[in-house]
Symmetry: C2
């Protein structure tokens, strides 16, 4: 069979890695795919820039549309990122009847419904394994490997920067800002770290995971996101004493009332495998009714791990080039006409357990007040630590773990606790999931 | 589209689970597959036996060949297990042009080359996700998700019984035989536990994993297998003190000289994720040159986890029913004509680190003798513990960790150490892998 011709848009970290992997493993990949896969064209903004890859044999251009409109190109690999002009590029490639492989999570989280609809109309594939959890084939696992299951929930460490920061805080007793500065120096975190530390990047990925797990349209605007900036060294240590680790998780859960879509710091029992996923690594736990919990772990970012998923998608597309579009794996795991618009719950309706840390005066009756408020809101206490006041201080930290309750109840209880004369400052609240 | 008709051979734990999962999730599975999948026929040895599944609407027979020869059946699901008559059934199904889904690891490890050759001739698929690691879609991950990679090695906890025993020994300080008896009572271990505790079952699975990772024919007869029966409570404790866990691993590694295929107890650094996989759970780490290490974790056995993989395979087959056989995912990940008969190394040529435990008289010069022998064989020592003798005893345990060496050198050194007058009994040797 004649070689498949691929055009790559963007020759940065992932684009360069894709060129490197496809060249280095060309023979092995062809032994798998049954035919040669060659990058014949690539675009980059600045052709004079130094590259991490050898571009010999690849016709370069600064205009992505030259490649998109080239009838000789079978597959477009979009690795520019972002949502502006890139959306037009992807839509144009689809309109031209080309299959697309992309690592662009924000594009799919925000515009995926439109993109997949156009792709289905034209009978082309849009593959996106690299958009979630880098080198981990978790999209394939959920969409195909677990296709027999009713998926109940999934929970993932899907932002390496956040996990690096939390791991350093725990391992070395460091403060958030201190570790963030190091992560920026190491290149793990952007100069503007908002996307990572506020959970927006994880929210994009969670949007995609939830759609393929539950068979619903992409709805990023309904994801609740809370960052890790309020996590203190003290929280990390108290969690540890209670047998928990704090991880920044993306959680999607199907309940009888609707879907919970939430990104936030979470206490997890320290014996759970995902609690032991450290540094920049990613992992996703998926709970299916038949398979039970399965976990997928690996590098969530980086040049070659992401390229690994991009190239695997290219191989999948190559295999399906001659297939009947109706028999392909659907973009969002479920047939396009079988997606169901399940309601997404507001944060008030989340049901979860909580870790609470508050500072109270060291006086009789304080604990009675706090526990009475919780009882009034039907919130059961699972564990409680009250520390001795430090010498000369009159304020003591109280740490509580609660059983599962509705978030609205917890918010009301916290407001009353914060209003107590004997309690100083805010209650620091972190959600707790057993993931059992 | 009209429903796909499936015939199931065997209605035991996995067969019954498959019926249950396909019935319970019928609507959700059809929303994914794009058409209905129905089990219309099933065979069982004894039709009067109580079943874990509802067989209403399924035509039952005691003769599997009735189903295999039924022109109305599209896909045969073989869940009888074993290698005798079952091999004939699978070959007959293939000869009849039917696609086959099987969970039968021993059949594939021993006769897979023949079976896949016949299947390729007839243009049918033989799918086997359930044959390795139960509900974990690790075959799919390696064969498709990591198709861009040159795979360097893989290591897996692929026998739940063995892992349950080692976990109990560590957690509760129990002895091997004591835990084995409990595992048998719980139904985790067979009355004859040889397959599990001697590593034969893991060897079957490793054979399959190695073939799809490296693109080589199945060669179970060349797998080195060593069981866990010689592991003592003391070894588990010493390993713990040194920062390691003992796991029964299947390891396949590509070296410039050939492939290592080995199943044996292994010390792993306790911070590695796979060292924290406990109880009956399974996990496989795969090291690709691009993706880096990825790990896949979940239930390795059981009715519904295994059924999850069986049914996922059925969905895959349904999707490929109309596909060109040349463009399908090849059975062993690489095109049949691109498999390479890479040499498999003998145990003498393994290169690994070691944990050694020996008992020596509490006399000057003993350590000097032992370390001299290791030095003579160019074996470097990484760590050493010498314990105080117990009151009234003259023999002390010495525990050594070595750096990586060739197994032949280690065997020669151990023979000399055992020959020392001051050393009593055998040297207990356990291999050590950092999996870094």
């Amino acid at each position: 069979m004649k070689p498949v011709k691929v055009g790559v848009l963007g020759l940065g970290t992932v684009g360069g890695g894709t060129v490197n992997v496809l060249k280095r493993n060309a023979v092995e990949i062809a032994r798998r795919a049954g035919r040669e896969i060659v990058i014949t064209r690539a675009s980059a903004k600045d052709l004079t820039k130094a590259r991490i890859c050898d571009t010999q044999g690849i016709a370069l251009t600064t205009d992505p549309f030259e490649i998109i409109n080239d009838p000789d190109i079978d597959i477009i690999v979009e690795l520019i990122g972002g949502c502006g002009a890139v959306k037009d590029m992807v839509l144009q490639a689809i309109a031209n009847g080309k299959h697309v492989v992309t690592a662009n999570k924000s594009l799919l989280a925000l515009h995926g419904n439109e993109i997949f609809a156009k792709a289905s109309e034209k009978g082309v594939m849009v593959a996106f394994e690299a958009a979630v959890a880098g080198g981990i084939p978790v999209i394939k696992a959920i969409r195909e490997g677990l296709s027999a299951n009713h998926i109940e929930w999934l929970a993932g460490i899907i932002n390496g920067t956040g996990n690096f920061i939390l791991t350093e805080m725990r391992d070395k007793g460091r403060d958030f800002n201190d570790v963030l500065a190091e992560a920026q120096a190491l290149g793990y975190a952007e100069a503007d770290p908002t996307f990572d530390v506020e959970g927006i990047d994880a929210g994009h990925k969670l949007t995609i995971l939830a759609s393929i797990a539950f068979g619903m349209p992409l709805q990023f605007d309904k994801v609740y996101t809370e960052g890790i900036t309020q996590i203190t060294r003290a929280d990390v240590e108290y969690a540890e004493q209670l047998g928990y680790r704090i991880k920044h998780l993306g959680i999607a859960r199907k309940t009888p009332e609707g879907i919970e879509l939430r990104v936030h710091p979470t206490l997890i029992p320290d014996r759970r495998l995902i609690a032991n996923v450290d540094g920049v690594m990613n992992a996703v736990v998926v709970k299916g009714d038949a398979a039970g919990p399965t976990l997928y772990y690996g590098a969530g970012a980086g040049s070659e791990p992401t390229a690994s998923s991009v190239v695997a998608d290219v191989v999948d597309v190559v295999r399906a080039l001659t297939s009947d579009p109706e028999n392909r794996v659907p973009h969002l795991a479920f047939q396009a006409d079988a997606l169901v618009d399940i309601p997404v719950l507001s944060a008030d309706d989340f049901r979860t357990a909580y870790y609470l840390r508050l500072s109270a005066e060291d006086k009789p009756g304080v604990l009675a007040d706090v526990t009475r408020i919780l009882a009034d809101h039907h919130i059961s206490i699972e564990a409680l630590i009250q520390k001795q006041p430090l010498a000369g201080e009159t304020v003591v930290p109280i740490i509580l773990l609660t059983q599962i309750t509705r978030e609205q109840e917890m918010n009301a209880a916290i407001a009353k606790i914060e209003a107590l004369q004997t309690v100083t400052g805010k209650v620091n609240r972190i959600r707790l999931e057993t993931l059992g």
